[in-house]
């Protein structure tokens, strides 16, 4: 059975957009997770014990790009479809953005240093740091679920109605 999502990515424009978004997300995640540094020199530093976090970061980045573009494709390509599919498209965009934003809690301790009012944010940042793996796993699960929902929407939208099939057979 063909996966419809891959069908969307066969065209150069969605494929390029997915790559660009995934690359952007990836650059941000890997920077804040300190897998690479830009100052004083560009250096990549991956220790074996942090490979699971690297895998999670890459997974979230790739799925975020994919979900965003497939959601946009669903909204754009099936304007006359049931509202549910369009809703799924919008939900996909929101989910991808939320799931992508969750691992950015690293910014919170920085804000805490920046100002006295950031103390609460700092506390949240530390709390999130302690639970970074479950948060990332949650984001990944959310993105996987959304991908599945979008794939189902694409299948439904592309399916030939039974009425057409039965009229053909007659």
């Amino acid at each position: 059975m063909q996966i419809q999502t891959f069908g969307v990515l066969r065209r150069p424009l969605p494929a390029l957009s997915t790559f660009a978004i995934s690359a952007l997300f990836g650059l941000v995640f890997l920077y804040f997770d300190e897998f690479y540094f830009v100052k004083p020199y560009f250096v990549v530093f991956i220790s074996p014990d942090r490979l699971p976090i690297l895998a999670l970061d890459i997974g979230i980045s790739v799925l975020s790009g994919l979900v965003l573009i497939v959601s946009a494709h669903e909204i754009r390509s099936f304007p006359n479809q049931k509202r549910a599919y369009r809703k799924a498209g919008f939900a996909g965009i929101v989910t991808a953005l939320l799931a992508g934003a969750c691992p950015c809690y690293y910014l919170l301790p920085l804000l805490a240093i920046a100002g006295g009012a950031g103390g609460v944010l700092g506390a949240f940042g530390i709390l999130f740091y302690d639970y970074q793996v479950p948060i990332k796993l949650g984001s990944l699960a959310l993105l996987l679920f959304t991908s599945f929902t979008l794939e189902r929407g694409l299948r439904a939208a592309c399916a030939v109605p039974n009425s057409v099939l039965s009229s053909d057979s007659v």
């Binding site: 390029l16 830009v38 004083p40 250096v43 700092g122 530390i126 740091y129």
Partner: protein, 228 residues
């Protein structure tokens, strides 16, 4: 018919616009990395950091290069750096007499970090600052989880064979509070915005800032760039 064609081409254009914007964003990030990263970050200005008699120093005091470490005993990134790179740096740069390592506090977590800093300085009075520092990192708990207690500090002091009466009195006296505060202020003035942050200072005062738990090779490269 004509209307439909026009609408379709408009949509296509907007998609191209979005993709174009994304590519521009990626290009900006790439350019930033290339210019700020690959080109290096040597600071021609003279370092504002100095070593006070109260700052713990590891290595030869006459070493040409000074590495200031701004850290917090509860900071997981500091712990990660200590466990993965600290020993290599000490072996390659400190033990060889090339550089000395100076500890400066930059407390970003709760008051337990201050307690740990006071305890480490109290151990330092008996010549065991770095041993205490190593014990704290080797057994670090979750930040702000309450793992740093007076009892634990005394237990570590006992393990290091310190005079416990002197250690406890010193730890609780608050006499290092002003040092801890001045370290934080010095860090802020030097541009520290997270831990660990390192400043590699050369013999002429020029320095290189290293933010985050970076590999030891970066320190060696920084020293070479400063004339080492």
């Amino acid at each position: 018919m004509r209307k439909r064609t026009r609408r379709k081409s408009g949509k296509g254009k907007s998609v191209y616009l979005w993709v174009g914007l994304l590519i521009v964003a990626v290009a900006i990030v790439g350019t930033y990395l290339a210019t700020n990263g690959l080109a290096g970050g040597n600071n021609p200005a003279v370092s504002p950091l100095t070593i006070s008699p109260q700052n713990p120093v590891l290595g030869s005091k006459t070493a040409q290069f000074t590495i200031f470490e701004f850290g917090d005993f509860q900071c997981p990134s500091c712990d990660y750096w200590f466990k993965t790179q600290g020993a290599i740096l000490v072996q390659n740069l400190v033990d060889t007499g090339k550089a000395k390592l100076v500890w400066r506090d930059f407390i970003i977590y709760d008051s337990d970090s201050r307690l740990a800093a006071n305890a480490a300085y109290a151990a330092g009075e008996q010549g065991k600052f770095w041993e205490f520092h190593d014990l704290l990192y080797a057994n670090q708990g979750q930040p702000n989880s309450g793992w740093i207690t007076q009892q634990l500090m005394i237990f570590y002091a006992q393990r290091l064979g310190l005079n416990l009466t002197q250690f406890t009195q010193s730890m609780n006296s608050g006499k290092y509070d002003s040092l801890i505060d001045s370290n934080f202020q010095a860090g802020q003035q030097a541009g520290v915005n997270g831990t660990p942050t390192f400043f590699v200072v050369g013999p002429n005062g020029h320095y290189v800032t290293i933010s985050g738990p970076q590999p030891e090779s970066v320190f060696e490269r920084a020293i070479n760039s400063l004339g080492g």
